[in-house]
């Protein structure tokens, strides 16, 4: 039941290509109402099946007002904010760590065949380890404080960024590399002026998947050993037979996931105005 966030960049890249003639506000409104249609429908169904028709019991599927009340209850003593901030902090650190590491390793592997032969097989093997399999091991080695959680999130967000960046670098058009050669670019200049910009769309796609993975791994980490965070809130709700609290957690995660993805999408639109893609024309 996530709200579409954040506003998309609808202005044409450099004012040169006139886009649709409809006024900006009208187009924006049309897009938002379409995006909100499904959440609104689901919400209506939820309300009807619980509060109106009483198809579900409150301890199975609590009505919206119970969830709202639970949110109030959690907010009153500052619990909700505490959980939210704990999770946000973990995702921020874990994603930053994983993303930076992935970009560094991805560049090395993408640009050097030797590094690829050396590192890629191992990374491909590690990639296939399910997230939960890491948990016991990380707890054993890193204790039960923040470190294992941030590490797990970093692992989760590392691979999509790494894989996309490497394939992005590998897919750089040989013809553009030749242009770099013609103008006498050295190895470093070639990387900076051809390979990096050409691989940027892939890196950004990887980052978007990576931030999604970060939320996924966050919950995996918090479900098992924590006293704070949205994952803990879910488990706490389960233990206390409070489906309303569980729904607060689920909806919050959906909103947060959509928000972080939306922010990256915004960055993507700003950085890739040049792209000759279907999306850019839309």
């Amino acid at each position: 039941m996530s709200a579409p966030l954040p506003p998309e960049l609808t202005a044409p890249p450099c004012g040169a290509v006139p886009s649709a003639r409809t006024p900006w506000l009208q187009r924006r409104a049309a897009r938002w109402s379409l995006a909100l249609a499904v959440p609104a429908l689901l919400f209506a169904l939820w309300w009807l099946t619980t509060d109106v028709w009483h198809l579900f019991l409150a301890n199975q599927l609590p009505p919206p007002r119970h969830v709202w009340a639970a949110l109030h209850e959690l907010s009153a003593d500052g619990d909700f904010t505490r959980h939210l901030l704990a999770s946000l902090r973990r995702v921020a650190f874990g994603f930053a760590l994983g993303g930076v590491a992935a970009i560094a390793v991805g560049l090395v592997v993408g640009l050097s065949r030797t590094a690829e032969r050396l590192l890629d097989p191992t990374l491909q093997a590690l990639r296939n380890v399910p997230s939960l399999a890491w948990v016991p091991f990380l707890l054993l080695w890193l204790g039960i404080d923040e470190t294992p959680k941030i590490t797990l999130i970093a692992i989760g967000s590392f691979f999509p960024v790494y894989l996309n960046l490497v394939s992005g670098i590998r897919q750089v058009d040989r013809k553009l590399v030749e242009v770099g050669h013609i103008f006498g670019l050295g190895r470093l200049a070639l990387v900076r002026r051809i390979f990096l910009p050409a691989a940027t769309p892939f890196a950004l796609a990887g980052l978007r998947i990576g931030v999604g993975q970060a939320w996924l791994f966050l919950v995996a980490a918090e479900l098992i050993a924590s006293t704070r965070g949205l994952g803990f809130m879910l488990i706490d709700g389960q233990n206390n037979l409070r489906p309303d609290i569980m729904l607060v957690g689920i909806l919050t995660l959906a909103l947060l996931g959509k928000t972080t993805d939306g922010l990256l999408r915004l960055a993507e639109r700003r950085l890739l105005v040049w792209a000759d893609t279907f999306e850019a024309k839309a």
Binding site: C14, A16, E178, I182, F183, G184, P197, V273, W274, A275
Partner: protein, 274 residues
């Protein structure tokens, strides 16, 4: 290397003195590793400021020769010298225009042109870009991205980018072949205009008989693979030329006949365009 203004009189003598030539090829041969021979003993010298076209059957090795001149391709025997020095890889003094514009899609028109500017000239970047934009008639398009340009405009940007490096030699590999006839004629005239301004030496690979004759001082006809020089046609006509000039038409007939012979038409239909 800034290019000095040189006289651009049509050159009448064929393959003459090598002293002071802009490009000098001696016995240049090339074969792919364990493959066919592509070029077989090519001798050619191009004077500073001369425009030379290379024509010949499709796939005969003209483009390979151009890549050797650009230093993009290094495997060959014989000697290749540009501006008196043997080439040792790509350099800014030899510009190259590809069949496709090959603009960097993430850079604007102005940034694409600036891409060609040598690091030591970066300080004057803005002025150079402005001048080149003006010269290729793209003043209003500086901030556009390549995807927003037509094919002809993109190729003009590519031309400006090549000139931004201030080369003494410009190599053109069928640069207009993907454009419609109208745009092509405009670009040919633009190239001549810039040539007159800069005194560039130009070597052009083309499939277009008319293009070769309209632009060049000499048209070099290659035989089918392995490429050898079959014939060199002098175009002793003053510029600006009239595309309808009977003398051009006469040369055209001669060139077509040479191409027919070069293509060994009795065995295979040559793929040149008419």
């Amino acid at each position: 290397m800034p290019v000095a203004e040189v006289s651009v009189q049509p050159i009448t003598a064929t393959g003459a003195a090598s002293l002071g030539s802009a490009i000098e090829l001696r016995g240049v041969s090339k074969r792919f590793p364990a493959g066919p021979v592509i070029l077989d003993g090519v001798d050619l010298s191009v004077r500073p400021g001369e425009i030379v076209s290379l024509v010949g059957p499709s796939g005969c090795g003209k483009s390979t020769l151009l890549r050797l001149l650009a230093g993009l391709d290094r495997e060959h025997t014989g000697t290749i010298a540009v501006g008196g020095t043997a080439i040792a890889g790509p350099s800014r003094s030899v510009g190259f225009m590809f069949q496709e514009p090959r603009l960097l899609p993430w850079l604007t028109v102005a940034q694409n042109i600036a891409f060609g500017i040598a690091p030591e000239r970066r300080a004057d970047s803005a002025a150079i870009v402005r001048r080149l934009l003006d010269q290729v008639h793209l003043d209003g398009s500086a901030k556009l991205y390549p995807r927003q340009l037509s094919g002809g405009m993109q190729q003009r940007v590519a031309l400006a980018r090549a000139l931004a490096a201030e080369p003494s030699v410009l190599l053109l590999d069928e640069p207009f072949s993907a454009l419609d006839a109208f745009t092509r004629i405009h670009l040919q005239d633009l190239v001549l205009e810039l040539w007159q301004r800069t005194g560039l030496t130009m070597v052009l690979v083309t499939h277009e008989v008319d293009e070769a004759l309209y632009l060049s001082d000499r048209v070099v006809v290659f035989s089918e693979r392995p490429a050898r020089i079959a014939e060199v046609i002098d175009v002793k006509l003053a510029r600006p030329r009239d595309r309808r000039d009977p003398a051009l038409l006469e040369l055209r007939g001669h060139l077509l006949e040479q191409l027919r012979l070069a293509g060994r038409w009795d065995r295979r239909k040559p793929e040149y365009e008419i």
